[in-house]
Amino acid sequence: MYFNFTESPVPDRDFRVPSGCGVVGIMHQRRRLFSGETIIKSIALMRERGNGLGGGFAAYGIYPELKEYYAFHMLYDGTLEKKEAEDFLRERFEIVEDEAIPTRRVKEVKERHLLWRYFLLPKEEALIPFESEEDLVVDTVMHINAHIKGAFVMSSGKNMGIFKGVGYPEDIGNFYRLDEYKGYIWLAHNRFPTNSVGWWGGAHPFGLLDWAVVHNGEISSYGTNRRFLESFGYRCTLYTDTEVVAYLVDLFVRRFGYSPRTTAKIFSAPLWQEIERMPSEEKQVYTALRTVYGGALLNGPFAIIVANSEMMMGLNDRVKLRPLVAASMGDFLYIASEESAIRTVCPQPERVWSPKAGEPVIGELVREPEVQKIY
Amino acid sequence: MVKGMRKKILVKEEYCIGCRLCEIYCVTAHSQSKNLIRVFRYELGELAPAVIVEEREYTTFAVQCRHCEEASCVRACITGAMHRDSSTGAVYVDRDKCVGCWMCIMVCPYGVIKRGTGSNKVASKCDLCLDRELPACVENCPNEALVLTEVNE
């Protein structure tokens, strides 16, 4: 049985829960795969930053044999919900392969959910009303999360997956057997929600397509951001402020084709007084970005790490109200809430720095023979 | 002629509302008690305002001694009572020296010197309230129709 409602929970799917957190992102910029052990060790060091009510990981490059297919990591309350969701998925996708997500028994993790993964190929006929495959996937995720009660899509990208749940992250990592996976980008999150009970779907990372977001902070502009996103067809139904970040990156980077840097400058926009001092063309661009995308400005304290298959970006709010440290060592880029979390897995990085408020740290994949770039 | 900063009261005729509060406050500022009600009840006899509100149809404006550069009153004074203070550049009357000939009243082109109500001596003549931060008329004008300026000469 997958149910274990001994306490009477206020599941955070019904409320937006402000939370404090610890975040880590590790990337190898030449796609070298490394096991999940590293990031578990790193996030475990910041146990203080969580309270055992949520932990999670995102891993890129873990399904090389099935990289053509959309990997859906699903969370079900039970078999009925699974059937309902599968029926819906089959209308739109061919299920190439599916299986239970492998887990091991860990006494700290009180399992309540049925965890399943699917590798999906969009059906030609299902694509007709959509502009692209990605739009179909986005719509599918939105539909399941909003309308199929008891079913939740944790991740939906290719060659990547999100593993999350209620517990300390090291226990969650152990539970999902992440030591057995190898990826080139890993994100991890340790959650400190401020309500009584965590819901598995409310843990981070939050994902859509191959986007994954981990977030420490509170998006005080949530209402405005949600309203902005709704005008582009996104439905924010999960009441976690992190979801708006995932949708906003999807909108700006995937749909509008903006660079991660420009996107970061929309989220943590320069102050008007800084814009006033810019050279005229730049001033015009930034004035326009703020004027038009004011609804996408992320306000309130945050440190976020966003990744997709191509890059990883760390970003602070405009005042830097949450900690974020970056470091590099060879082809490795580390971003974390605390320097100690980096040094525990990379004791002597070549460079360690604290990104300024609103200044993104962007690590992109290096295409041979290009040189690595971090700006 | 004294060089340097000189205080002047600027009259903004277009904003004078004709309430005559400047007159009341001028009298009070030069009274013993400095209290409006007491002045009205007990001290009015000797006092007259040094600022006068002129009124004709829609036009009203308050005017007080201009402290003219070429002050006719100073020239006309037979005793030297009417004199220019060398430090402030303002024109004052020394009541001890005044003999009440009223030549100054005759020659003043603005009609802002008045004789005393109790004696024959010149009683009221704007002294720019130099003991105050702002002249009483300026401070209390409800519409800022009187403004203190400093002119560099």
Partner: protein, 506 residues
């Protein structure tokens, strides 16, 4: 005795001991209520003439005067209030429409007072506006849904051309008040304050006095049904053009400036002969439908070479949401919605007190409707009608407005005591009058300073509240109804406002 005089609304109490017979009160009362009896050496007041403007009270140097409501107007009755009885008496006497001024003064629900704001505690730090930047700059005008950028190695270039915008340093503007309804000194005060603070004032429908031309960069010119003073130079004189369809104090009604008020300078700005009545028809006679409005919007855009935002002002009525949607689709760059509390220089009392809907509800439904239709970005929403304080501004913006217009609040800053007698043209404060003797009572330097102070004070308060919420830019407040909670509102009202009841978390 059926024929009788109506009772006085006010009683003027004069403390005879304090009265120094300076006669300032006698000199200043334009209604002739105060008079001096030489033989008695006493100042008296004819209470019936007193309108309760408090000018004499303000000017009395010894505080001898207190103006009070007449406490024993008629026998108290919840249904047949003294106002009702007095109105009936006046109408029995005159047989005419009762006129009044300023905004609706009836005790309708003010939703602003039933909404409370949020603040940060623990989970996000509040921001101290004295130490951290706090941004309230606002742009009014049509925005594209998205921007086309050309990005190359570290540089970004803008490909999309953005429609003209008004840049507001505070999200507050002075609403339309014509030269004619208010004095030139009042207009000058607001114009100068707008220039100082970096916002806009609105000429109203009375044309443009030559003294106001220098404030063009901070001016919105209005084009109303009477088209007074409207020509191509006028349209191009300001930073934006506003087509006035209606106003909150008198939805569905035009305007009438009596001929005796059309003095030489008024005749010059309104471009009508001296002494003729200036009548603004109820509708624009070239706009009988939405497609006609579109033609006027584009005619004005053509005339201004597409360099100025063109907006449309309407009164908030039952159908305000679909009407606003139509206006946006007709090409307006901003929509002004004026609620039931909106003020005026003159209006039939029956209209002012009964027609229209509260602005709070109108903002909520208009913003929602435009968002539902996916056209919210095409126009900014400016709201007006009873904005009294900075918290009203914050709540209006949180409900979805881009900026607000203030009229009454601005006039109060200039001295107005809401005696509601603007239509008599005898305003003692020099605001709603053309009498040169009264106009000079408003020194525009003082007026500009006070109006600018009001905007600055509100701006500081807005920043305080934003900081408390942990937000440092007003963009993050706009339409953020999450920061609002309703107190004592019914479920359906909460639904219309799109807010949760107090006590409910996110």
């Amino acid at each position: 005795m059926a024929k009788r005089r109506s009772t006085a609304d006010f009683v003027l109490e004069r403390d005879d001991y304090k009265c120094i017979r300076c006669l300032a009160c006698v000199r200043v009362c334009s209604y002739g209520a105060n008079f001096y009896d030489e033989r008695e050496n006493m100042v008296f007041t004819e209470n019936r003439k007193c309108v309760g403007c408090h000018f004499c009270e303000a000017i009395c140097p010894t505080e001898a005067i207190v103006v009070q409501h007449n406490p024993l107007a008629i026998r108290w009755n919840a249904h047949w209030t003294s106002e009702v009885v007095t109105d009936i008496m006046k109408q029995a006497e005159t047989g005419g429409v009762l006129l009044t001024s300023m905004g609706n003064d009836k005790p309708y629900f003010t939703y602003f007072d039933r909404m409370v704001l949020n603040a940060s505690q623990v989970t996000n730090p509040s921001i101290d506006p004295l130490r951290e930047p706090m941004e309230i700059r606002t742009f009014i005008g049509k925005k594209p849904l998205s921007l086309e950028l050309e990005e190359s190695e570290g540089s970004v270039a803008l490909k999309t051309q953005i429609a003209p915008q008004l840049k507001l340093e505070v999200p507050i503007m002075f609403s339309a008040m014509s030269y004619g309804s208010i004095s030139l000194n009042a207009s000058k005060s607001l114009a100068k304050a707008a220039q100082t603070v970096g916002t806009y004032f609105n000429t109203g429908e009375g044309g443009l006095h030559k003294d106001l031309k220098e404030f063009g960069e901070n001016m919105i010119v209005q084009c109303a049904s009477g088209r007074f003073g409207v020509n191509v130079d006028y349209l191009n004189a300001g930073a934006a053009v506003e087509i006035k369809i209606g106003q909150g104090a008198k939805p569905g009604i035009g305007g009438h400036l009596p001929g005796e008020k059309v003095t030489e300078p008024i005749s010059e700005t309104r471009m009508i002969p001296v002494g003729t009545d200036a009548i603004s028809p109820a509708p624009h006679h070239d706009i009988y439908s939405i497609e006609d409005l579109r033609q006027l919007i584009y005619a004005i855009k053509e005339a201004t070479r597409y360099k100025k935002p063109v907006g449309v002002k309407i009164a908030a009525v039952h159908n305000v949401a679909p009407i606003a949607s139509g206006i946006v689709r007709a090409g307006a760059d901003f929509v002004v919605i004026d609620g039931i509390r909106g003020g005026t220089g003159a209006t039939p009392k029956v209209t002012r007190d009964n027609v229209g809907i509260p602005i709070e509800l109108a903002i909520a439904v208009v913003d929602k409707r435009l968002r539902d239709e996916g056209i919210r970005h095409l126009a900014s929403i400016i709201v007006a009608g009873g904005i009294r304080k900075s918290s009203d501004v914050i709540k209006a913006i949180a409900l979805g407005a881009d900026a607000v217009y203030i009229g009454t609040a601005a006039l109060v800053a200039l001295g107005c005591h809401l005696c509601q007698k603007c239509y008599m043209g005898k305003c003692n404060w020099g605001i709603a009058t053309q009498d040169p003797k009264l106009v000079r009572r408003l020194n525009p330097e003082i007026g500009a300073r006070r109006a600018a102070n009001l905007l600055r004070a509100w701006a500081l308060e807005i920043k305080e509240i934003l900081g408390g919420m942990g937000i440092n830019a007003i963009e993050s407040l706009r339409g953020n109804r999450d920061v609002l909670r309703g107190v004592g509102l019914q479920e359906h009202e909460l639904e219309i406002l799109g807010i949760k009841p107090a006590g409910e978390a996110w």
